[in-house]
């Protein structure tokens, strides 16, 4: 050790800058990797941690009828807790979008015995007051609000509630105006922000208690909209759901149309989303780790090899190989330990920005977080890796000095030499493909792998990103093949004449598809199914089918993919569905996406032909007209044309308009991960730039002898530059040859995985602009990287080099 210490005393003052740069590199690399891993772990566990703290509901129950006696459900033995809320859209918070308020709570159970919230700041509202609200984190951030700020709630009058529209200026509600104070910021699984949303306000149950006529409606009124629904927590969790469903039917006079949601199933969908985000982050961490292995590894190896060169002289004076290796490796080892400590500290500091995307919305403990299950092993592993890398580099460097093995020769380079190409091209190709040996050895494989990986990463990232852009701008990928919709009835009552509206829509030349979509809830062996009636014929709307075909007879059904899974059936199987009129065994003819409705997502539900629908249902829960337009049609103009035609033909429907449907929430979810592949691709491109840049710089330095010889033989300075430019171009061309097809294939495969798991219609993404740009960009970047080494090659002091040699 004395020798090693003595050597360090000499070396550190001389090479402190190298050690400092190495330390910084290790700190940045380890911080990136550890932050990504810790962020991934944190994101993946966010929902579970939130559920652990919040007594989440097991089911949401929608009877969709007024005056339902919830005590019958509350009294069921499997029910641990139950809370009621009002399905209420007829109110506004002044100055905020319509959907900013959560459903009004009808009792104080929610937030105390079920869905008990995580209070991030402030406190919970007083359940007896009608002037206090709590909000979500996203609301505070988006609207720059603080605790103590106020919001104004505008409630409807009872008649406005019945009409679901305000009678004031611009349709404003003219009922009670309540100024309410923000007293806390909360979150629960049920009351959490959705991707793409701007946050919401949750009013106290005191509002419903004090203003029941303005929220639920007058007692005994024929309420078509504002039903009281319930969240239920079952003692046995999801396992109790089948029994609970049977009991709900039993205590509700045999009603099979009551929707009983499986919330753990819904959370599994959310978990899939956060798991996907976590895996993206994990992939980023893995790519960063590989990049760090290349970049930091090369720096460590360079440092150790440089030390070994000096230590060879010391070996002649009696230094043992072990001492030489220890002395060469100690500097990088110190940099490794210090750098990793800095990396841990940095990863802790950036933890406040994690998790991201959907996981951020449900994170129960945002802010700084020290994940020692990542940091502690990371600290040890990175330090050991750096030490091992330095020892290996020193050992190889010493061993290489002893060996005299002939260099590996590239067949490709030999073939190119025979084509009679200019000498700089031949030499540059050789530099790119042949590693050389001894002191002139340059690792070409990392550069080749780096170039391929960089192009592959960029192509895969942009191909994937093109898939994301495609679905964001094409709701039809989520089965939303209609561009306009209109709700014309609820609870078996149409408030507008469907036949006339359907005729008006059919007569418009821009309309190419119409569906008279009646929706009702059936019960199958795997739970509730939202069933849509499908109007076939010449102007049928198109349906995204993932497999099979649409039903063509009264005993056939097409199920959405999640319903297919929930009912444990496959295409070709039979499934018994029970409506409020009868039960029927249907043959599953296909798996297709359905329209998103008030109670179902696009992947939950079923399509049944009109006759098949009428066979089991008396009426409908909701009645809508779905309209698809010809490509290129002006949506606003069509809406105006349809409204004008309606005003003329159906005077009682004056003011009626079709409107574009809201995009599925999955669009916003997918959008949250859009940036990750780009960042990942950028990181891989950085790896390529680092690897190629390193090999170009190293090649000129280590092969300066060859270049000097060629100069002595008559090669001009420009030809020397051409050597390096050729070397860079060869690396770029190889990167493109392998990276482009592999990158496109990888991007498409990843997108296929996302499409299958989301689910959505898979359309092979093609990043055309990236494909066009990648070739000139790769060649340009490679040649820019070659500029400085090329200049250095051209300016070599040849007489000095040749004399030294």
């Amino acid at each position: 050790m004395n020798f090693v210490t003595a050597w360090l005393r000499l070396e550190l003052p001389r090479r402190w800058r190298s050690v400092a740069v190495l330390t910084l590199l290790i700190a940045v690399a380890s911080a990136t990797v550890m932050a990504a891993l810790a962020g991934a772990r944190r994101g993946a566990s966010a929902l579970e941690r939130l559920q652990d703290r919040t007594k989440p509901a097991t089911s949401a129950v929608f009877t969709n009828t007024a005056n339902y006696d919830w005590n019958r459900i509350r009294a069921l033995p499997e029910v641990e807790a139950l809370t009621t809320f009002v399905i209420d859209y007829a109110y506004t918070f002044e100055g905020y979008p319509d959907n900013t308020g959560g459903f009004p709570l009808a009792d104080a159970e929610m937030l105390t015995s079920i869905e008990t919230p995580v209070v991030f700041t402030g406190r919970m509202f007083d359940a007896t007051r009608d002037d206090e609200v709590v909000v979500t984190r996203r609301f505070m951030a988006n609207y720059h609000k603080h605790l103590g700020d106020t919001v104004v709630l505008n409630l409807p009058t009872p008649s406005e509630l019945a009409e679901q529209s305000g009678s004031g200026p611009d349709g404003a509600f003219t009922g009670p105006h309540l100024r309410m104070r923000i007293v806390g910021v909360i979150g629960t699984p049920w009351l959490s922000d959705e991707p793409g949303a701007t946050g919401f306000i949750q009013m106290s149950p005191g509002v419903v208690a004090k203003h029941a006529e303005n929220t639920i409606g007058p007692a005994n009124s024929k309420n078509l909209w504002n039903f009281v629904s319930a969240l239920v927590r079952l003692r046995g969790g999801e396992a109790d759901l089948p029994q609970f469903r049977r009991d709900v039917v039993r205590v509700s006079e045999g009603r099979t149309d009551i929707e009983v949601w499986n919330l753990p199933g819904e959370w599994r969908s959310a978990q899939r989303e956060v798991t996907f985000e976590a895996r993206c982050l994990l992939a980023f961490g893995a790519a960063a780790f590989v990049a760090a292995l290349f970049l930091v590894g090369q720096a460590v190896a360079r440092y150790a090899a440089a030390s070994t060169t000096e230590l060879r002289t010391m070996r002649a004076l009696g230094v043992t190989p072990g001492q030489a290796i220890a002395a060469a490796a100690t500097g990088p080892a110190i940099a490794g330990v210090v750098g990793t400590l800095l990396g841990v500290a940095s990863a802790y500091l950036v933890s406040q920005f994690f998790p991201f995307g959907t996981a951020d919305l449900i994170e129960p403990a945002p802010g700084l977080s020290a994940d020692w299950l990542v940091f502690a092993p990371g600290l040890v592993l990175v330090s050991l890796l750096v030490c091992a890398g330095a020892v290996a580099a020193a050992w190889f460097s010493l061993a290489a000095a002893r060996r005299n093995r002939p260099a590996r020769r590239s067949t490709a380079a030999s073939v190119i030499a025979r084509w009679g190409l200019p000498v700089p091209v031949i030499v540059g190709t050789r530099f790119a493909l042949e590693p050389g040996r001894g002191r002139t050895a340059v690792p070409v494989r990392p550069a080749l792998i780096g170039a391929v990986t960089g192009v592959l990463g960029i192509l895969a990232a942009f191909t994937f990103s093109h898939g994301v852009s495609d679905v964001v701008s094409h709701p039809e990928r989520f089965g939303q093949t209609h561009q306009l919709e209109a709700f014309i009835g609820a609870n078996s009552q149409d408030f507008l004449p469907a036949d006339k509206l359907l005729s008006i829509a059919a007569a418009n030349s821009d309309v190419i598809g119409i569906d008279d979509a009646r929706q009702a809830v059936a019960t199958g062996p795997g739970g509730s199914v939202s069933v849509y009636s499908y109007t076939g014929g010449a102007k049928a709307i198109s349906v995204v089918l993932l497999s099979g075909r649409m039903p063509s007879s009264a005993s056939e059904v097409a199920l959405a993919p999640r319903t297919l899974a929930a009912q444990h059936v496959r295409v070709g199987d039979q499934v018994k569905l029970s409506g409020d009129k009868a039960s029927l065994v249907y043959t599953v003819t296909g798996s297709g996406l359905v329209p998103e409705g008030p109670r179902n997502g696009y992947a939950d539900g079923a399509w049944i032909g009109a006759a098949g629908y009428d066979a089991i249902f008396k009426g409908h829960k909701f009645h809508a007209i779905l309209v698809s337009l010809r490509p290129g049609a002006n949506t606003d103009a069509t809406i105006a044309a349809l409204a004008k035609a309606t005003d003329r033909a159906v005077p009682e429907a004056a003011g009626f308009t079709f409107s574009p449907p809201d995009p599925p929430i999955e669009v916003a979810e997918i959008r949250t991960v859009r940036a990750l592949p780009i960042v990942l691709g950028g990181f891989l491109a950085l790896l390529a730039v680092g690897a190629v840049g390193h090999v170009l710089a190293t090649a000129v330095r280590r092969r300066s002898h060859d270049v000097a010889v060629l100069r002595a033989l008559g090669m001009t300075q420009w030809q020397c530059r051409w050597i390096v430019l050729t070397q860079a171009s060869v690396l770029a061309v190889i990167g493109l040859l392998f990276g482009v097809p592999l990158g496109v294939a990888l991007g498409r495969t990843l997108w296929r995985v996302v499409a299958d798991s989301t689910p959505l219609q898979y359309v092979a993404p093609t990043a055309a602009w990236t494909l066009l740009a990648v070739v000139p960009a790769a060649l340009l970047i490679a040649n820019v990287l070659a500029a400085v080494p090329g200049r250095r090659a051209a300016r070599l002091q040849i007489s000095h080099i040749l004399r030294t040699e």
Partner: protein
């Protein structure tokens, strides 16, 4: 002297192969400038075999590099094959070397990862030959120098003498006006040294102009003429007045 004048490929006969007048070269160094050449005048006739001798640091290699166009003079004129090369730019000098100068180094300076054949072909192609013609010329030279069976081997597997013969073959591929050799036997054992010297004699017999830098009296004795440098100046010239 205009920089746009291209080096002539033709050998201008009836003039000295090399003519140096008042050549000075000084290198910057940490403590004090090193004056490697201090006004050297030298004429080397076409077809002459000249040995340059002198102690270490006397300026032998600098002189050779200046004749080869690998180094620049601070002062004085340098004429090689009838063309002024002092003050020329790097590109002109490189093109000039392709046709008029072949260089043999003490430590061979062969391209490591390249076969013996390609080591000769590359400068041939660089000199303007088509690949096939360069290959043909390279094989001819390899045969001439006794390396015909080593064409596909890399320099690393050749002996010192073989490597130096390969370096000589490379230097001759473009039939240069002038063959410069910097300690060509310095890295060889005595047999290898004799082998190389024999080769030089044979080349000289065919009319090749050779300038050889050496420490060794014995090696220098093989040349027609010996010039001794000391402290950057010509101390003696066996062909001098």
């Amino acid at each position: 002297m205009s920089a746009v004048v291209e080096p002539s490929e033709a050998v201008i006969t009836q003039v000295a192969a090399v003519r140096l007048r008042g050549v000075r070269r000084t290198f910057a160094a940490e403590l004090a400038p090193v004056r490697a050449l201090r006004g050297v005048d030298l004429d080397i006739a076409d077809g002459e075999f000249l040995a340059v001798m002198g102690p270490s640091g006397c300026g032998k290699s600098t002189l050779l590099n200046i004749i080869a166009g690998l180094d620049m003079v601070d002062d004085g004129t340098v004429e090689v094959a009838g063309q002024r090369i002092d003050g020329r730019d790097e590109g002109w000098l490189a093109r000039f070397r392709r046709h008029h100068v072949g260089i043999v180094f003490q430590f061979f300076n062969l391209l490591d990862g390249v076969s013996a054949l390609d080591n000769i072909v590359l400068p041939g192609v660089l000199g303007g030959m088509r690949r096939k013609a360069a290959e043909s010329r390279a094989r001819e030279l390899l045969d001439l120098l006794g390396l015909g069976d080593r064409a596909q081997q890399v320099p690393a597997v050749l002996s010192g003498g073989q490597r130096q013969r390969l370096a000589i073959a490379r230097a001759l591929v473009n039939s240069p006006t002038l063959l410069l050799a910097d300690e060509p036997t310095g890295a060889l054992d005595s047999d290898g040294g004799i082998e190389v010297l024999e080769l030089f004699r044979r080349l000289h017999d065919t009319g090749q102009t050779i300038v050889m830098v050496t420490h060794s009296q014995d090696v220098a004795a093989g040349a027609d003429r010996q010039v001794v440098l000391r402290d950057g100046q010509v101390e003696s010239d066996s062909a001098g007045p």
